[in-house]
């Protein structure tokens, strides 16, 4: 993993993460952002843990079946504040990627996460999550051990939390497997990260039968999975800027900017009572998509019985 590299000073003035700044003409296209989000050199959860937190104590296992390498969880200090951390880890070397199943969690990963959510709640620790997955593992074992139930449980568990929850989409946010870490008071997204109901490849295969490069490019476009689009839809709360060329070009600077955004939101959320935090989360997700609802008369109704 990336060593703690605090020795060289931040060279850049901290670009304040902005709310939906207008896209410059040079802004990357949707598929370019997907590629940036998947870049193997892009900082991952454990990199941000190293850059932003102190005294990370990793918590392993779901106490049911196993320890899933695709999800890392633990306790750490953000400045002086003890916090709980949960995030997907894709891995970088081939060996690590295999050990971490390329960041695609199994049910035991989500159950480990749930255990840490409940721990955070019980001891009043703010929860910070890092979302970086193509999606939950689609496999025989995952289905046998209840992938759907594990994700569903986490959605409900996150809603209930009486502590501040800040989710950071740092790479690819793939469908329910991402949302199981995403029911937060504040959802931050890095400029070149994305968040989608389906991968562009999966979408292209369904819509146009073939995931050719052209179809995948089109799919990325129509899915509106890039940070500015998600902000406009109300799916995320704030875009966190990345260094020129993407987070991988200057990981420490990317971490610094993300850290500032996390701290700013935590400071605000930590003033709220547990019941208010839950209520705020409920309201936030209850409103998802409501702006696009219309009233349309139907003739028949269901007058059957």
């Amino acid at each position: 993993m990336a060593a703690k590299a605090r020795n060289h000073k931040e060279r850049h003035a901290d670009p304040v993460s902005h709310r939906g700044a207008a896209q410059s003409p040079a802004a990357p296209s949707a598929i370019e952002r997907v590629r940036l989000a998947r870049n193997p050199a892009r900082p991952q959860t454990l990199d941000y843990v190293n850059y932003l937190f102190k005294d990370f104590f990793e918590i392993h296992g779901d106490r049911r079946y196993g320890d899933d390498g695709a999800i890392v969880a633990g306790l750490a200090h953000l400045g002086r504040t003890p916090v709980a951390i949960v995030g997907q880890q894709r891995g970088r070397s081939t060996a690590e990627r295999i050990r971490r199943n390329f960041g695609k969690p199994h049910p035991e990963g989500y159950r480990k996460a749930a255990r840490v959510y409940e721990l955070a709640d019980r001891f009043g620790l703010p929860l910070i999550t890092f979302i970086d997955t193509q999606g939950a593992e689609p496999g025989v074992g995952a289905e046998e051990r209840g992938q759907a139930e594990a994700i569903a449980h986490n959605l409900e568990a996150m809603v209930r939390l009486g502590v501040p929850v800040v989710a950071c989409v740092i790479g690819e946010g793939g469908s329910g497997g991402a949302l199981a870490l995403g029911v937060a008071n504040t959802v931050l997204i890095q400029e070149n990260a994305c968040y989608s109901v389906i991968t562009p490849e999966g979408c292209a295969a369904i819509l146009w039968r073939e995931a050719t490069e052209e179809n995948v490019t089109r799919a990325a476009e129509v899915l509106k999975l890039s940070a500015p689009d998600l902000l406009a839809l109300g799916v995320v709360d704030e875009i966190v800027t990345e260094p020129e060329g993407g987070a991988h070009t200057a990981p420490e600077q990317a971490a610094h900017t993300l850290g500032n955004a996390i701290r700013r939101h935590l400071e605000r959320l930590m003033k709220l009572a547990p019941a208010e935090l839950r209520r705020a989360r409920e309201r936030k997700f209850a409103a998802m998509g409501s702006a696009f609802l219309v009233s349309r008369r139907v003739e028949n109704g269901e007058s059957i019985s």
Binding site: A152, S175, G176, I198, I206, L223, V235, R281, M288, E302
Partner: protein, 282 residues
């Protein structure tokens, strides 16, 4: 996701034919007779899919159904275009079904027990969940909480609706949040998983019942079979992702054949409501 499932799956009794071939035992049966038998094959017990209207007719007490939130509809949040624009796709599904979207919600009685009832319409774009499905179900749970009613939801869905992008994904959290509140109020929620219940619907409200029960043979799972085969090269076990497979792996509370569903629901609702000590009621 959802769109494809409609085309791939079989088992829907075609409305025009007099005869129907059972995908379970391959016998040819008289369609009227299968229908009289609640769309269950008399020879092998295969459960054909049923429409929302059929489901209501065989589940709720006659004359008790009152639909709610029927007017909720979606615009075109993404400006989504594949081979056709999303609004045109929607308009066609609306014309065919006579409803605005893929979920129907309302109040009914089952065995004289009042319930808040939700049903998914698989014929409407594969029962896919977009903002309307999420909103209707969330409102149903909220209404049940206010009126202190139990909730029953019949799921049948290929998952989240691609055409509404990340907004459809967020509906998983929206409905789960409403369920959490109902649960805190100690009101029962029975989830009935019908063929098929997959993707984002399985990974949210369908698996969050106080009791999760399924119809025999229902396809239930998170990932699609094709995705699993392609990404893992794994041989899929016999009966993979069928209700019986989930029951054997501890993921369902029970499998209930359709002819017993109404009475079973009535009995469970009675048990879960009546046995709660008075002191716990608020």
């Amino acid at each position: 996701m959802a769109e494809r499932a409609t085309k791939e799956q079989t088992g829907q009794a075609p409305a025009e034919d007099i005869w129907v071939k059972c995908p379970g035992c391959r016998e040819i049966a008289f369609r009227k007779e299968v229908e009289r038998n609640l769309n269950v094959c008399g020879k092998c017990g295969h459960h054909f899919r049923v429409t929302v209207a059929q489901r209501l007719a065989i589940t709720v007490d006659r004359g008790s159904w009152r639909e709610m939130f029927a007017e909720l509809a979606i615009g075109d949040p993404l400006g989504f275009v594949d081979s056709r624009p999303y609004p045109i796709r929607l308009e066609q599904a609306r014309k065919q079904s006579g409803r605005n979207d893929a979920a129907v919600t309302g109040l009914a009685a089952i065995g004289e027990r009042p319930v808040a009832l939700g049903l998914m319409d698989f014929e409407f774009m594969g029962g896919s969940m977009g903002v309307v499905v999420g909103e209707k179900l969330a409102r149903l749970f909220e209404h049940a909480l206010k009126r202190r009613l139990p909730v029953v939801v019949f799921s049948a869905s290929g998952g989240a609706r691609m055409q509404e992008g990340a907004l459809s994904l967020m509906q998983m959290a929206k409905v789960s949040s409403a369920i959490a509140r109902l649960r805190d109020a100690r009101l029962p929620y029975i989830s009935v998983l019908c063929d098929p219940t997959t993707g984002g619907v399985a990974a949210s409200f369908a698996m969050l019942g106080d009791l999760n029960i399924a119809e025999p043979g229902a396809l239930i799972g998170f990932a699609g079979r094709r995705v699993i085969e392609q990404t893992t090269n794994q041989q899929l076990p016999e009966g993979f992702q069928r209700a019986e497979f989930l029951l054997a792996h501890g993921m369902l509370d029970a499998i209930v054949p359709r002819p017993q569903m109404r009475d079973t629901l009535a009995r469970l609702l009675a048990d879960l409501i009546a046995r709660r000590p008075r002191a716990l009621r608020r």
